[in-house]
């Protein structure tokens, strides 16, 4: 056996191509590759929101001053937040719609807190390309469905801030929030 191996040694090395040098080569390049990827991580993640930006991630809103039919713009994560005190008529209008006919099917109940049906709290960011819809300010165009209207590309939202017409794919986003008292919410 030993003599046989000796005789074919050179040939076998050529055929299989596995030499110490190949191992060192692959190991070194792999190690450098892993190192390269490890360096990439901080280079990429530095672009994510920094700690100070994330620190401003909750907002408290006092509801006591908002009368029925009125709405205000607050700031949540440096984006507008719409807080709207719905009238009985607006609630009835929203309830009258069959959710199955909607682009993003949701009922008003699913978009408000139980027992607080008159408080519609949504982001003021159009789900199309991120403009601020009109309708939360005094005398602004509320669109064809009496809710919000985005002037950028003509998206119409209804009184439950659901998309009804135009290019936006989704209803206005309802952020996570809790009632800290009867007249105050904590968003985020």
């Amino acid at each position: 056996m030993a003599t046989e191996v000796q005789g074919t040694e050179a040939v076998a090395h050529e055929d299989e191509g596995v030499r110490r040098r190949d191992f060192i080569n692959i190991a070194a390049v792999s190690f450098a590759g892993v190192g390269g990827l490890a360096v990439l991580y901080p280079l990429i993640t530095q672009m994510n929101p920094s700690a100070d930006v994330l620190a401003q991630a909750t907002t408290e809103v006092d509801l006591s001053a908002i009368t029925e039919g009125q709405s205000i713009k607050a700031v949540f994560r440096s984006q507008p937040l719409f807080v709207r005190h719905l009238t009985a008529k607006e609630i009835a209008e929203a309830d009258a719609v069959d959710p199955a006919t909607l682009r993003d099917p949701q009922t008003l109940e699913q978009r408000v807190v139980d027992g607080k049906k008159q408080w519609l709290i949504t982001m003021g960011v159009c789900t199309h390309l991120g403009c601020v819809p009109l309708g939360a300010g005094e005398g602004e165009n509320k669109g064809e469905f009496g809710g919000y209207f985005c002037p950028c590309h003509g998206s119409h939202y209804d009184t439950a801030a659901r998309i009804r017409k135009g290019p936006a794919p989704k209803n206005l986003v309802v952020p996570e929030y809790t009632f800290t008292s009867d007249t105050a919410i904590l968003v985020g």
Binding site: I44, M47, N48, P49, S50, V53, K73, V75, R77, S78, Q79, P80, R103, G124, T127, H128, L129, G130, C131, V132, C150, P151, C152, H153, G154, G166, P167, A168, P169
Partner: protein, 437 residues
């Protein structure tokens, strides 16, 4: 290409001989844009626009580097620092107006350059790589221009950043994290402004690098020409210098005349008044539009108002927003495939009677798209942009491949020289006839 008959670089001065041995940079320049680069003798003025594009980039680099000396990329002071440039910095108003209008002129020149290539078939073999690199430059230009427009931190700057990064949010699942990552926050803010400034300073130098590759790739087969017939011998070419340095020099003069008209007499004609209002995250301008050079693509983006659904089930396959974004990117990316889409062996549109007609239609179509992109998102503009967007894609994906297969091209001239002489013979023939009358 260095044709065999091209003049060789022979330094005479001892200093130049010394230089040639150590670093043959003068030789390189001589062979690239000097007497050593042989160019077809029949180039028309549309061939000026490559040089003009390089010139526009130079204007942007010079004015931009100076503006960066006075600008502060911080959300709190960016708007004020631009006003400081306009009011307090010596000649600051001139530099900023030159930079802002320079961007528009860069695009005007590049659009003419691109349509020149489209008509004269400059994208066809053996110059495919020149075309591909050109599209890369165009994409880099768009990114640079977009980020530059954000820097003054006015209303259009802010909402432009919001809308354009919002395009990425249309990507399923990973879209919103990508948008947050691009902006460094949940909405455009200081982080976004800072990184856009950094990249806006970087990308023009990347563009300059790709331009060098673009010219390198061009100089391997040599410049194309209006007949599309390849160079056959020394009688077909003239040296770049002095022939085309002179012709380009004339074009440069005309360019600067028109540029100066805009800078001095209508510096805000291509801008938006809303951008003189400081950025306000709580209020969107009534009518957000990008800069005019993005309008055709913006119209394609907005043309998609219907979801792609499985009929009768109501299951949405692709939402309208994503469709619009995909179509907008596709409208540019499909240009990468143009050399293989257009299979006609005839390069120049001059000898393609059918192609010529459709080419004019394409120009009209892009102009219509441009107009719709600048108009509000209302009828009839939405409907018109839908038709025009459909035609845009039809031109490249249906019309070009079909006409290439059955169009009968006009007879091509035997050579560039033959075409030139036929033209001048025709002209002298006319003068003779007039003289005879």
């Amino acid at each position: 290409m260095s044709f065999p008959w091209a003049e060789h670089y022979t330094p005479k001065h001892p200093l130049m001989k010394w230089m040639d041995e150590k670093l043959p940079l003068p030789r390189f320049v001589y062979n690239a844009v000097g007497g050593g680069y042989e160019v077809p003798r029949n180039l028309n003025y549309f061939w000026n626009f490559g040089v003009l594009a390089g010139l526009a980039l130079t204007v942007q680099l010079v004015t931009g580097i100076i503006l960066a000396m006075h600008y502060a990329a911080n959300g709190a002071v960016a708007f004020d620092s631009v006003e400081h440039i306009m009011r307090d910095v010596n000649s600051g108003w001139l530099l900023r107006y030159a930079h802002a209008n320079g961007a528009s002129f860069f695009f005007i020149v590049v659009y003419i350059h691109i349509f020149r290539g489209l008509f004269f078939g400059s994208y066809k073999a053996p110059r495919e790589m020149v075309w591909l690199l050109g599209i890369v430059i165009f994409l880099l230009m768009m990114a640079t221009a977009f980020m530059g427009y954000v820097l003054p931190w006015g209303q259009m700057s802010f909402w432009g950043a919001q809308v354009i990064t919002g395009l990425f949010a249309a990507i399923p699942v990973v879209g919103e994290p990508i948008q947050t990552w691009l902006l460094g926050g949940f909405a455009p803010g200081n982080a976004a402004l800072n990184r856009f400034f950094s990249l806006h300073y970087l990308l023009p130098f990347v563009i300059a690098g790709v331009i060098i590759l673009h010219i390198w790739a061009l100089h391997i087969p040599g410049s194309s020409n209006p007949t599309g017939v390849e160079v056959k011998g020394p009688q077909d070419t003239v040296p770049f210098h002095p022939y085309y340095t002179a012709k380009d020099g004339f074009g440069v003069g005309v360019f600067f005349l028109i540029f100066a008209l805009a800078v001095f007499f209508a510096p805000n004609a291509m801008g938006h008044p809303d951008n003189y209002i400081p950025a306000n995250p709580m209020s969107t301008p009534a009518h957000i539009v990008p800069e005019w050079y993005f309008w055709p693509f913006y119209a394609i983006l907005r043309a998609f108002t219907m979801d792609l659904t499985i009929p009768f089930t109501g299951i949405v396959l692709v939402p309208a927003k994503l469709l619009g974004v995909l179509a907008m990117f596709a409208s540019i990316l499909l240009l990468f495939f143009l050399p293989w889409i257009d299979t006609s062996p005839v390069r120049s549109g001059t000898y393609r009677p059918l192609f010529k007609k459709f080419f004019i239609l394409l120009i009209v179509d892009v102009l219509i798209l441009g107009y719709c992109g600048g108009a509000p998102a209302e009828e009839p503009w939405v409907m018109i942009s839908q038709l025009a967007a459909a035609y845009y894609f039809a031109h490249f994906l249906i019309i070009l491949p079909i006409i290439a297969s059955f169009e009968r091209p006009d007879p091509l001239p035997g050579s560039i020289t033959e075409a030139v002489l036929a033209k001048s013979k025709h002209k002298t023939g006319e003068t003779v006839a007039i003289a005879a009358e």
